[in-house]
């Protein structure tokens, strides 16, 4: 019977032992810089194939691994050489020649040649029903002139071609590795020529990358390893960076920005982005088929109040459908100015009888959407429009929205290329997405979008996109609310971190002091 006593004593001792584990002593022989960059993210990667994926966490991860022919610059308004050190355009604008740098190698050690480029771009072009096919839509042929020269011919002159070829989906994969590979391999085991290579992927947990020893920029990356860790809970992610478990995190919510700015250990960044928040209106059905009604709703929204309530003041009220950082953004556009009396007047002109009840669909577990819905409800109630809130979980909401079973949907956009053509075609053109599922279909708009893609003269192109911005506001199939910055919190010990306006992070220059 002594046994019971001993067990209790043992258990007690074990408990005290565990409690006493406490802090692990610092390594005395530590070097000046950390060997590993730890970065906490709010969403995990799922598919690292540049051609078939469709989510920011995926592309932000594989952009560390793959290179493209040209790359968007950090500000998001121009291009810098990547795999191609230079390029030329024929006089008719239909033939583009890219000259590859000769010192680029995949992480396998094999040199990057024209045939890798041709194979990768043909794959991106030929895949049926991919989300990014539009980027190579006007390509007639892709061929190798020699080992380091690639010629791409277009069906017709195409103004945003350089932007389109810079898109992540046109990443250059190793032909040798992937030529006969199954889709699973391309999705799970990327092999590229970028600064990092994937060495381990614990799905739903972390991506482990090591410096690509063959990366063409000598001495980079500065840190040998990069770990991207999935920490979905906002509080846990913030505590992780504050306690030094990770060196940086993405997406701390706006509600915590002020507090993180005061933290002396952290650099709380609000990086310029191309994010636009908007409401999609289903213009197929009454009363949203009535343009005056849509204008009335847009006029009855106080965007500054939304910026204060939803973004805690860190966003900017939207004045056109284009993000501020996109070329041809019309700075002089006033957008919709909040005016309840004018909104009531427009409502009267629309002939829609008030009070009228409409429904807004949004993601239930998204605090930003939630507060947006609540604030808009309060504003619209002043003009006799009663807003019913309909929160659904993400998968259910997405399906309802995709099948056009909604009246108003809270969503948003980020650019993937530094050119207005992608957003224009997706949000206002009927063919790609029925104008972001709003059902808006305007001949005038479609013609203008077409012209914007063909026009090679920059001044004329600007003029076209100014007209598109005006027409979009007038027709209001969507109500644009605000431009949001990217929120990132990194340790002050971290240097060299860059986030591009199109979203992806650049870690190759990052060093973290011990």
């Amino acid at each position: 019977m002594r046994a019971t006593y001993r067990v209790v004593a043992l258990v007690l001792a074990a408990g005290l032992g565990l409690l006493g584990l406490g802090p692990v002593p610092q390594n005395a022989s530590a070097q000046q810089f950390k060997k590993v960059i730890n970065f906490g993210v709010n969403r995990g990667a799922e598919n690292l194939d540049p051609v078939t994926m469709d989510a920011n966490p995926d592309l932000w991860a594989f952009m560390q691994i793959y290179q493209q022919l040209v790359r968007v610059n950090v500000k998001g308004d121009g291009f810098v050489p990547d795999l191609a050190e230079r390029w030329t355009t024929s006089a008719d604008g239909k033939t583009w020649t890219f000259f590859l740098r000769r010192d680029s190698r995949f992480s396998t050690g094999d040199p990057v040649t024209s045939s890798d480029v041709v194979w990768s771009l043909r794959r991106a072009h030929d895949l049926k029903d991919g989300p990014w096919q539009w980027a190579l839509e006007d390509v007639q042929d892709i061929s190798a002139k020699d080992d380091h020269t690639v010629v791409i011919t277009l069906k017709e002159p195409w103004a945003p071609f350089l932007a389109d070829i810079s898109l992540f989906s046109n990443s250059i994969l190793s032909e040798k590795v992937f030529k006969n590979a199954a889709q699973e391999q391309i999705s799970n085991k990327p092999v590229g020529s970028g600064p990092w290579m994937l060495t381990d992927w614990k799905k739903g947990e972390e991506l482990v990358m090591k410096a690509n020893p063959y990366y063409f920029e000598k001495g980079l990356p500065k840190t040998p390893e990069l770990h991207i860790k999935y920490i979905p809970d906002d509080n846990a992610r913030i505590i992780a960076v504050q306690s030094g478990n990770v060196d940086g995190i993405d997406y701390p919510p706006f509600s915590r920005v002020a507090e993180l700015k005061r933290d002396p250990r952290l650099d709380m960044q609000l990086n310029p982005s191309t994010a636009v928040a908007h409401l999609s209106l289903n213009t197929r059905e009454a009363p949203f088929d009535n343009v005056k009604f849509r204008q009335a709703l847009a006029t009855a929204i106080d965007r500054y109040a939304i910026v204060r309530a939803v973004c805690f003041g860190y966003c900017t009220a939207a004045t056109t459908f284009l993000p501020m950082t996109t070329p041809f953004f019309n700075k002089s556009s006033k957008g919709y100015v909040y005016d309840t009396a004018k909104a009531q007047q427009l409502l009267k002109e629309s002939g829609v009888k008030t009070p009228v009840t409409v429904k807004v669909l949004f993601w239930a577990n998204n605090p930003v959407h939630q507060s947006t819905a609540v604030v808009v409800k309060a504003m619209w109630s002043k003009i006799g429009v009663n807003l019913d809130l309909e929160p659904l979980d993400r998968a259910a909401a997405t399906q309802r929205y995709r099948s056009n079973q909604f009246q108003i949907y809270i969503t948003g956009w980020t650019n993937d290329i530094p050119d207005p053509s992608q957003l224009g075609a997706y949000e206002l053109g009927f063919t790609q997405s029925q104008s972001y599922h709003s059902g808006y279909h305007s001949k005038e708009m479609d013609d203008l979008l077409e012209q914007g893609q063909r026009e090679m003269n920059t001044d004329k192109r600007r003029d076209i996109y100014y007209r598109i911005q005006d027409l979009a506001l007038k027709d209001s199939p969507l109500i644009w609310l605000y431009y949001a910055p990217y929120t990132i919190a990194i340790s002050k010990k971290m240097t060299g971190f860059v986030q591009m306006a199109t979203g992806p992070w650049i870690f190759k220059d990052v060093a973290v002091a011990q």
Partner: protein, 313 residues
Amino acid sequence: MHLLTYALRRLGQALPVALLVTVLIFLLIKLLPGNPAAAILGDRASDEAVRALNHQWGLDLPLWQQYGVYMRNLVTGDLGQSLRYRTPVAALLPHRMVVTLFLVVYSLLLSVVIAVPLAIIAATNRDRWPDQAVRALITLPLASPTFWVGILLLIVFALKFRWFPAAGYGEGFSEHLRALFLPALTLANPFTAVLARNLRSSLIDTQRTTFVDFARAKGLVPRDVLFRHVLRAALLPIVTLIGVRLSYAIGGSVVIETVFALPGLGSWMVESILSRDYMVVQTLTLAFALAAILVNLTTDLIYPFLDPRVRMG
């Protein structure tokens, strides 16, 4: 032999329950609005792409056929693919399972380590100040939401003192012990209170029984009476409690794993439900159900060993 037939009979009863669980889960998740292909491909994907992916995954087949395929695969040991991660569920399952099991067992141990001494102190000082103090102390965790306690522990021990990591699971056994300490403590929290209260009253009741009187009359010192006779008998009802609690702890892991970013079954379940990753949800629900059935069975089988008075009917 008697025990074996009993065990087999209980197992036989458990099988139809497990089968029923698979049918229910299968139907429930299909009834939910939302489609995995649309959820995974995102807003920008074309309708054709969504249709093609649904076809590839066999999600356009009639429901009974889909269930048939699922059951056939299950019987042959094929747990299907995680649609979201494009990886066989069976390849992801072991690592995730270890994390959750580690967490649950760890939390149970912590509960016992904390609750047993508290209950002994309370019971041996009945109605005096130590008893009152313990009773007041253990009411607190009962009244605090797990989610909140988790965040609080993180702020104090991971942020202020930096004794424990804020997120993740770590590499190697000693790091697991450290990384899982706060989550295990959070998970242990409500159970510790229940355990301490129950053990306290159980100890008090046992002290009043005739065999304890007899032990005292034999001339045993109070310490020996307590540990040899009272505690052993008082632990019996606790075994049932632990069994019930284990099933709850597996469920509780869902919240804990999300707060502490642990790559276990619970957090995986939540993500998979939200993205309609059908195969994963089916497999995990089945695993949870089987675990609950197994725990119940084990509890029943342990009983006769602890108390010879319990005989199998």
